[in-house]
């Protein structure tokens, strides 16, 4: 059976019936085959929003969240597995493939139904980089590649590859009580990180010039009195904060004043804070100076922003519907303010106040 004799439409139909991991294997057969797969699977590849290099279990695997009837249900479609080979394994136990100019050893992983690439620990980084470069060429250029790393040890190395968004989670048992200085060093020596998930049991935060504040999306659990410091220096887009202990409500009002004056969080798009101990005195905040209100008889527009770093499991947005808003003095842009139970949500609009009010129905 000479597959290449089939016309394009038949190739397309055959490839549609193959898993992505099988298409990757098929693309290894020849350059011509790779070209045919790419040209016939444009729509399918475009539907992959992101590919994750995750660590749900050992070994690290490459997968993408699988969309079923338009909804992501947390189903993962494995593409490849990364494994370190032991010294007693010989090359004969693998099939060899030239991947982006590097000859690499593979086996089929029946457990995860995908190819598994094997490398010596010393070659780990270069091997993964070759695979990553291959994917960059193979899949659509709109795909976001996300590397998830759980930092448990100072020796954990973080890759610095082209077009690879990094999500770093710190082991709270080990890092929660670490001195901020050593964490500063970590951020200073790391490549640009897109998402950080950490718990800080320390009283002090990072220095204002720390690279930590440049992280685009931050999920932080910290002491409530460290929140103003964080908000003063944060240069990212989205922050999700959980606070210990009693919250000083004046800090929240102060934050809104500073934001309005254009003094802080100029790039901020979304802020969500959970106060686990005390209820937020809603009236006190919403009656603070400068908070405006849309008439209760009208429906406010919904602030709906895609998460800066979305894993494909939870919904991609965390909408805010609120009648309360504040306006930034420097550019007249609006932020919706919502307080419900223990949650304070602050969503910045691209629209000016006039444009925003036109969306009220």
């Amino acid at each position: 059976m000479k597959l290449l004799i089939f016309p394009h439409l038949v190739h397309k139909e055959i490839f549609e019936n193959m898993k992505i991991s099988d298409l990757v294997l098929l693309s290894f057969v020849s350059e011509n085959m790779k070209k045919r797969i790419k040209s016939s699977q444009i729509t399918r590849f475009k539907s992959i929003s992101h590919i994750e290099y995750g660590t749900y279990d050992y070994p690290r695997r490459v997968y993408f969240p699988y969309q079923n009837h338009g909804i992501y249900r947390g189903i993962l479609d494995n593409i490849m597995e990364f494994k370190e080979r032991s010294d007693n394994e010989t090359d004969n136990e693998f099939f060899r493939v030239n991947v982006a100019g590097k000859i690499m050893n593979f086996r089929l992983s029946y457990e995860h139904d995908c190819p598994a690439v094997y490398f010596h620990p010393s070659e780990k980084e270069s091997a993964i980089e070759s695979i990553h470069n291959y994917f960059l060429d193979f899949f659509d250029n709109t795909v976001e590649y996300q590397w998830y790393q759980w930092i448990t040890d100072d020796e954990d190395s973080i890759p610095n590859f082209h077009q690879l968004a990094l999500s770093i989670s710190f082991d709270s048992k080990k890092y929660g009580r670490r001195d901020v200085e050593s964490l500063e060093k970590f951020f200073a020596s790391s490549p640009v990180i897109k998402r950080v998930d950490m718990q800080l049991d320390t009283s002090y935060l990072f220095r204002p010039e720390s690279k930590f504040y440049q992280v685009e999306s931050v999920h932080l659990k910290l002491y409530s009195h460290a929140v103003p410091t964080f908000l003063r220096h944060f240069q990212g887009r989205q922050a999700f904060l959980s606070c210990y202990y009693k919250w000083n409500i004046l800090d929240l009002i102060e934050f809104m004043h500073r934001w309005k004056s254009g003094e802080e969080c100029r790039k901020l798009e979304y802020l969500k804070m959970e106060l686990s101990i005390n209820e937020i005195p809603q009236d006190q905040i919403l009656n603070a100076l400068g908070v405006k209100h849309i008439d209760e008889s009208n429906t406010p527009p919904t602030h709906e922003l895609p998460l800066a770093f979305w894993s494909g499991f939870d919904p991609n947005t965390d909408p805010i519907v609120s009648h309360s808003y504040v306006v930034r003095n420097t550019d007249n842009r609006v932020a919706s303010v919502s307080i419900q139970n223990n949650w304070f949500c602050f969503g910045v609009w691209k629209e000016t106040e006039q444009e925003f009010l036109r969306m009220v129905t």
């Binding site: 059976m1 000479k2 597959l3 290449l4 004799i5 089939f6 016309p7 439409l9 038949v10 139909e13 055959i14 490839f15 549609e16 019936n17 193959m18 099988d22 294997l25 098929l26 290894f28 057969v29 020849s30 350059e31 011509n32 085959m33 099939f95 493939v97 593979f106 089929l108 029946y110």
Partner: protein
Amino acid sequence: MSSTEQGTSSAAPAEPTTAPESAAAPEVPESFYYVHGKDKVVHKVSAGALQHSALIHGMISNLGYTEEQAKANPFPFENIDGDILQMVVDWCNQHKGKPTPPEDTNLPKQKEKLFDLVLAVNYLEIKELLTYCCKQVAMMVKGKSPEEIREIWMIPTDAEDEAAEKEAKKRAGKEAAGETAAAAGDAK
């Protein structure tokens, strides 16, 4: 030319039963058409069964043939082997007027037969059968290494592709040179 009678279960129109005037109009007798492949064996197939093939359906929809005209003018599919056309006709008869199931396990297991069936079905534009066939072709390489896939689907290596491309360029160059020389000769 030999002839087989395929799909003839409703060849003789049923006697219309007596029904009250308000009942539906009497059933129109089913029309039949004839097809043959490379082996010239003629298959009689109902228009209903042929609806699966977008190509044939398009050909017959405006013909308005009588039974005699249809018999005298079988559709020739010289590019399809007789046994493959027989498979296609059987499939169309089996699935006439029925919703197609999600899977079809009666497809040929031999590689070459499946390959020919894919080409025939693609030519005849039988979408559902093409989907079944392509699923089966895809399954052939499930759990195989790239080298095994290359063998099963006879995919040339990069070196072989390059050599073939060079050869094709060389041939095209020679042909172009030949045409130029011929044109120059004509001009003289």
